[in-house]
Amino acid sequence: MITSTPRGGRRAVISGVGVVAPNGIGTGPWWSATTAGTSGIGRITRFDPSRYATRFAGEVNAFDAGDYVERRLRMQTDRWTWIGLAATGMALDDADFRPAEHDPYSMSVITASSSGGNEFGQVEIQKLWSKGAGHVGAYQSIAWFYAATTGQISIRYGMKGASGVVVSEGAGGLDALAHGRRAVLRGVDTVVSGGVEAPISPYALTCQMATGRLSSVADAAAYRPFDERASGYVPGEGGAILLVEELDAARRRGGPAIYGEILGYGATHDGHHPWAPPPDARQLARAIELALRDARIDAREVDVVFADGAGSRPWDELEAQALHAALGAHAAVVPVAVPKTMTGRLYAGGASLDVAAALFSMRHGVIPPAVHVERPDAGLGLDIVRGASRAADVRTALVVARGYGGFNSALVLRRTTDFDRTNDPDPED
């Protein structure tokens, strides 16, 4: 019987990772590709992109929903939900977590969404306007809306705890994990969290292009954050689902190694303009500072930064300024990773996948490279990991994410030592 009052002493750790990414399905193939610098970005294949200024995207072309979702459920859901269900299954398997063995009320589903069930929605709205009201299918009401994937995950796995869906565009992946941690602090033991996205359909792409932030360079290497030739970003689909557990509950359960702890979080809003860049980087810097303070660590303890990497000059400059403001002299020497250069920006899935990459960097002692960043802007004063992956002892990672409209979030992750759940997450604490 859970009383959702916040209490001390509870800690949120991540014990399972499920990945569906343009450069790999499943953590094994994805991490191999990511550390090898293999990009999943290519010319759009899901429809003919000739008439669109943006013709390249990170598609998960090898994804076969039939491997993960039964036919009847596929008919009722969008590709976005298929990807979410697939990634959830992988995360549960990775943690060897069997939902049927647990109190249904001790398990929650709290994910990020950004644009919902795009393709399904376009099909149904097209039926309405081309054929008439009677042609809209019975599943439009449950397939398109932003909570569809969370609801389906909850139903498939019998998870009855407090659920949630947060929308803050690209910051959503971190905000969902933070809200998952709030649920853990309030008594839930397990949270399926993270986020995925499927925005590569004609109308959704048209909507994205309206921001002017997508690259129109017809080249698989068009997305070059922090580079002198930054021309905007390339969108992508997929993301990561992460299994968050309360530390003691995870220990009691036994099972494979825990990846790491959600040690700190901070979120701010620019509060400045509905789309234009803010005059300075203060609020993004403050999100990072809040996350460090929440984690009770010094900036110098950060071993790697997974950057937001907007891919356009003003936004890249603001992020660099924020890192310098929040991390001080350490900003010039800490490795900065931008693995989303290999997937494109995945919106609600983007920061979730960065968290997965941070956890794998900790576990394997290697930081993946940013690809296509050939002429990093020296004026930004950042050490972008590029060219090849870099060996590093990563104990603490900072993940930075922003959402269109002024959302800033930062998350600090701390490695669980020795990958042994009988130990403290870190004895140096």
């Binding site: 009383t3 959702s4 916040p6 429809f47 008439r51 249904p104 929650s108 969404s113 644009s115 149904e124 709205i125 309405l128 306007w129 081309s130 008439g132 009201a133 809209v136 439009q140 009401s141 449950i142 398109w144 809306f145 932003y146 909570a147 569809a148 609801g151 909850s154 139903i155 796995y157 998870m159 009855k160 705890g161 407090a162 659920s163 949630g164 947060v166 929308v167 803050s168 565009e169 905000d175 709030r182 602090l185 309030r186 004609p202 109308y203 792409l205 048209t206 909507c207 994205q208 309206a210 979120a267 701010t268 809003h269 620019d270 509060g271 509905p274 789309w275 609020q283 269109y404 409209g405």
Partner: protein, 423 residues
């Protein structure tokens, strides 16, 4: 433990597009449902809705805001302007970095998305839509985080900002999110609520095949009949409400008018079906009981229940069971009502409108009625406050929400001083 006060209320609802008009309309038991006027609903099974007669400029929006914002964002901004004014906060003197925004919506910018789609797809003919003719603001419709960012921008709020989109419980859940931000010290003030403007062809069309909405097209003004024997589904609505949430000690210290405090909030999932509900109401009762434990409330403490009361048979039976399961015999002794009988079901927006109604019920000592409840349903045997508002002292009010995806939420508001002081 940090506690959350409600110090400001703003409402845009059908039948009343300001807080006072809304409340007067509820107390009078006036139903605002009507035949849809926004478009010709002739081809739809359900042709009724509760529409807002809303003038954004009169509500304080600027012309450039009206131009770029979809209707649901306008509702939230109008309600936020009213709520902030009501709170007496002078934002220019406040630390904006401690002011957060948490707003809910179920379907976001669907109306703008649909209108733009019709234009760029040549009336639904082209799958490969023409990007040349799309509105520059269409991305803010695709991704409803614009709801929160626009409100953060308007007030210069630099604390956390988020949209919560849990379908029809979005309103309660967004205010619950804001409440947790205050509890956890992430903010001192939260502009929190929800809005929706889903009266559009695609939204009406998607509920038709599952017969979720009322087809009582010839009796539009009395089509929304929660708990009535002759109900036949919910009536689509629109609107929004925003509350100013404030850390209680701080609100008291500045001498703010405290309407009430949030004494409990909880959510559960039924993990059963995207649209189906079991008649036992188990998971909703679990949410109610969790919220009661947080406030250390006994069943006898609850003076009024603002029900989800959507007016589908399935909901009314499920919810009646949930209230009985949570409150026991006390469930029979207190007024319960569904304001959806008057303002319709504005999907993600309604939960916030109902929280505003609960706060006003405590403030005024009046339980609003369930309109159109003329023939009680033998399966629903509680006191649903039929037709006429009831005057009674209300110290503690419970509101429930239920939505597609299986989400069940409950929130309890308690009069300031009506709660046991924390040790």
């Amino acid at each position: 433990m940090r506690r959350t006060a409600i110090t400001g209320i703003g409402v845009v609802a059908p039948g009343g597009v300001t807080r006072d008009e809304f409340w007067d309309s509820l107390v009078a038991g006036r139903s605002a449902t009507r035949r849809i006027t926004f478009f010709d609903p002739g081809e739809f099974r359900s042709q009724v809705a509760a529409e807002c007669d809303f003038d954004p400029l009169a509500a304080g929006l600027r012309p450039q805001e009206v131009r770029r914002m979809d209707r649901y964002v306008q509702f939230a901004l109008a309600a936020a302007i009213e709520a902030v004014a009501d709170s007496g906060l002078r934002l220019e003197a406040e630390d904006r970095e401690r002011i957060a925004v948490a707003l809910g919506s179920a379907v976001g910018g669907t109306t703008l998305l649909e209108n733009e789609y019709v234009a760029v797809s040549d009336g639904g003919r082209d799958w490969l839509v023409d990007p040349d003719y799309v509105s520059p603001h269409v991305y803010q419709a695709l991704v409803p985080s614009a709801l929160a960012s626009e409100v953060s921008v308007r007030f210069g709020a630099q604390g956390p900002s988020v949209v919560v989109s849990t379908g029809c419980t979005s309103g309660i859940d967004a205010i619950g999110y804001g409440h947790q931000l205050i509890q956890d010290g992430e903010a001192d003030v939260v502009i929190s609520g929800a809005s929706e403007s889903g009266i559009s062809p695609i939204s009406m069309a998607c509920f038709d095949p599952i017969r979720a909405t009322s087809a009582r097209n010839d009796e539009a003004a009395s089509a929304s009949r929660p708990f009535d024997r002759d109900r036949d589904g919910f009536v689509m609505g629109e609107g929004g409400a925003v509350l100013v949430l404030e850390e209680l000690g701080r609100a008291r210290a500045r001498g703010a008018h405290v309407y009430c405090e949030i004494s409990g909030y909880a959510g559960r999932g039924n993990a059963f079906h995207m649209t189906g509900l079991r008649p036992d109401g188990l998971e909703m009762s679990e949410a109610i009981l969790d919220a009661m434990r947080q406030g250390e409330h006994e069943p006898a403490d609850i003076d009024y229940v603002n029900a989800h009361g959507s007016g589908t048979r399935q909901n009314d039976v499920h919810e009646t069971a949930a209230i009985k399961r949570a409150l026991g015999d006390h469930a029979y002794r207190i007024p319960i009502s569904s304001i959806k009988s008057m303002v319709g079901h504005s999907l993600g927006g309604i939960g916030a409108i109902e929280m505003a109604a609960c706060a006003l019920a405590i403030e005024h000592g009046v339980a609003p009625p369930t309109a159109n409840l003329t023939h009680s349903d033998p399966e629903c045997d509680l006191d649903y406050t039929p037709l006429v508002a009831r005057r009674l002292p209300i110290d503690v009010a419970l509101s429930t929400g239920s939505g597609f995806g299986g989400f069940q939420s409950a929130m309890i508001l308690a009069r300031d001083g009506g709660l046991r002081e924390a040790a």
